[in-house]
Homo-oligomer: 197 residues x 2
DNA sequence: GAAATAATAGAACGATCATTCTATTATAGC
DNA sequence: GCTATAATAGAATGATCGTTCTATTATTTC
């Protein structure tokens, strides 16, 4: 890895954290450069535009997410344990990768839902992939006989992610420490309802 | 209502819609003035600062929300019908009050969760109030004998609002028309689980 | 280690930001 | 209808935005 790629990664590392706090649009080349003791133009040279920077931030965050959440969870035993691992890994994510501003994807989703463009397109793809991972794990749990055959995998993925979003909302905006335990309770209810009789 | 108050309301009306699309921070005095054929300074004179404008936008949105969602829903019969009305009114909200960018409170929650200040404080209060309204309706449903006595009202409010957030996410970011029906299905499952045996 | 190349800095651009000032026009009270 | 007051416009402020250009350092490559 040459010097250029090295600093590019360092920039993206910092940028992911900053974007989680101020949003993809709230990111500023000047501020990011200042935090890294780089000149604006020096930083800018690594990215051809702010839009390209935003996209690379999303890509960097996604690869970290896969590394820290998805891959380890998919290593869990097939079926309910794997579904559970995906849920718990998601909850633990903010601790695994320092994200001062909470989940970047949640923030970006609200920011970009009305701004057409490549950044939005990428985010949509990432979110679809994530829901597919969840639904896939549910499907496996059905095949394993852990969940009832009548379980709708997409609906279950919807329900689980909704619980995560609410957990994020309550924890971050309301600063309510009960958010995580409430999310766990909701998740257990969902599991119980899907569990084979 | 004098002329001043009249234009102030007109400004806020437009500002609520604009903020739902670009966020409270994304709002610009110049752009807002341009959309209303006002001068920047003429508009600015109605609000002492941008921060005060943001707060008044939140207040205006909240009073519209109460008018269109909360009040009509609370007119529904006590118990499950009222819980159901709150849910359905929330779903119908974007149609009742034109909000090009989806729910302003969802957008503001993500934007402000890391920005301490009076705007954040107000939003926290509004969201607490909303969760209290939901929990209160659930409590009434328990008292009416519609829901089991073991139902946890705060947990139920958490679950319902999570479903709403996910509906918003899927509908707005993924542009998935199935979001609303999925949300309804999730809501019915929650009701079924809480219903007295 | 010299030559070629990549990485960074610095200054400047026009645009737009929130905000302030002064001037002008429209409303309100009598 | 005149006067006092409120509402709006216009111009200017300094700051910061993304971006481009040119120059100066580092780092590779042979």
């Amino acid at each position: 890895m040459g010097k250029g790629e090295q600093t590019r990664q360092a920039i993206l590392d910092r940028a992911v954290g900053l974007a989680s706090a101020v949003g993809l649009e709230g990111i500023t080349i000047g501020r990011l450069a200042g935090e890294l003791d780089l000149s604006k133009s020096g930083l800018f040279a690594h990215f051809q535009s702010k839009q390209s920077l935003q996209i690379q931030i999303l890509e960097a965050a996604a690869s970290r997410f896969v590394e820290v959440v998805v891959k380890p969870a998919l290593a869990a035993p097939r079926g309910e344990p794997r579904v559970r691992a995906l849920f718990e890994r998601w909850l633990a994510w903010p601790k695994a990768v320092p994200q001062p501003g909470g989940c970047l994807f949640v923030a970006a989703s609200v920011e970009l839902d009305d701004r057409p463009g490549p950044a939005r397109d990428l985010l949509v793809k990432l979110q679809r992939d994530w829901l597919d991972v969840l639904a896939g794990a549910v499907r496996t749990a059905i095949a394993e006989g852990h969940f009832r055959r009548s379980t709708d995998p997409e609906q279950f993925a919807f329900d689980i992610y909704g619980t995560m979003l609410m957990c994020h909302h309550v924890s971050r905006l309301l600063r309510d420490p009960k958010g995580v335990s409430r999310a766990r309770r909701a998740f257990e209810s969902l599991l119980a309802a899907a569990r084979a009789a």
